[in-house]
Amino acid sequence: MNDTTRERKALLFVGSPKGLKSTSHALGSYLLKKLEAGGLATETLLVGAALHAAKDLAAMHEAVAAADLIVFSFPLYVDQLPAPLIEALELIAEERKAHPPAKPQKTMAIVQCGFPETHQNRPACEIMNQFAKEAGFEWAGGLAMGMGGAVAGRSLEKAGGMARNTVKALDLAAASLIGGGNVPREAVDLMAKPLMPKWLYRLVGNWGMKSQARKHGARKTVYNRPYAA
């Protein structure tokens, strides 16, 4: 560890409305722990809390300005970022136009969707890349995964063997970022690997939804059309 490394700061920005209980937090906090072990100072912000009040917004801008690396971790909502995260990015970009950054900063994204196909996350990664360009960040890359529902907010340690490629991907990304690099291609490819066979994910997913609907007394109403004419 050298002096330059010790002074660097990484900010995890969790874009899930579910906050600390989310898969986004589970993935992001694993990476953050690795970055911390590599000598970076770390901080975590939850999007809901960041947008709550004027003082929270000020704290968000302060945390963003102080960071050398910002990791945005979020779920796919309707093919891209959840609305509150877009709002936060709009505000960050505006703030940086008014007060240009005092130092070079990097940003990266971790995005996961409930569908099995990783490529469904592509627009979200492209939007984050575009945000980086427009807001004056260096784009360090995006890690995207499908089958996020299988992690279900658990820590990666508890998710077991199915998350082995996810863990390897985040380890590789952390090592590169600690050394001043970007997210390596190998990490992107490992992250994109399915956690289980697609047919199994679909089967378990459908069974899980039916089981939860039954638990909530909605087994017979799950197909309801309350607003049908």
């Binding site: 899930s16 409305p17 579910k18 779920p75 909502y77 309707v78 093919d79 891209q80 970022l81 959840p82 609305a83 509150p84 877009i86 709002e87 990015l89 709009e90 970009a93 569908f115 099995p116 196909e117 469904q120 592509r122 627009p123 492209e126 939007i127 984050m128 575009q130 945000f131 360009k133 427009e134 697609k198 679909r202 997913g205 459908n206 939804m209 039916k210 939860q212 609907a213 909530h216 909605a218 109403t221 799950v222 197909y223 309801n224 059309r225 309350p226 607003y227 049908a228 004419a229």
Partner: protein
Amino acid sequence: MNAIILNGGPANGRGSASRKIRDTAVKEFQSLGWAVRVFDLDGLTIKPCRGCFACWLKHPGTCAIQDDGEEYLRTFIASDAAVWITPVTFGGYSSSLKKALDRTIPTILPFFIRAHGEIHHPQRYERRRKLLALGTLRDRDAEAERVFRGLVQRNAINMNPLKTNVCVMSEHADDAEVTARVKDLIRTAGIA
């Protein structure tokens, strides 16, 4: 026939371009005999989706949040054409438009089906509509436009509209250009 227009532009400043498009679209649809309902999203209380899945698993089809989102959802479901207007925001939609779109989760079912060679959620309602997306750009940005068009196409796979048409124009387009572009979009969507 019913059209729903979602204006995702801000209520001031950069929103003037979106308002111009909104007014032109209203006029065009009305001239074709359609009923039009406009939602200026920046002035409404549509809280963000919490991702709680209560609209799938507790009270299927209705959102747990009670605000202007419910009226929007009713109107959306009864529509034959949905028009989205937004400043192109990092290649995507403004947060105002996205808040409304995130609240359409009650219109799909929780289960997985195969569609277009991928896994998706089936629609809760049979009624389908045409989707028209109009984005405005402050300065020409080919990459932002490409991302925007790609995003609308991804939405189209998930929302299963009858037809999808996209248009990206300059925020500084004059009245004549806006009218021509909006008319063209409506015409190419087969709306008459």
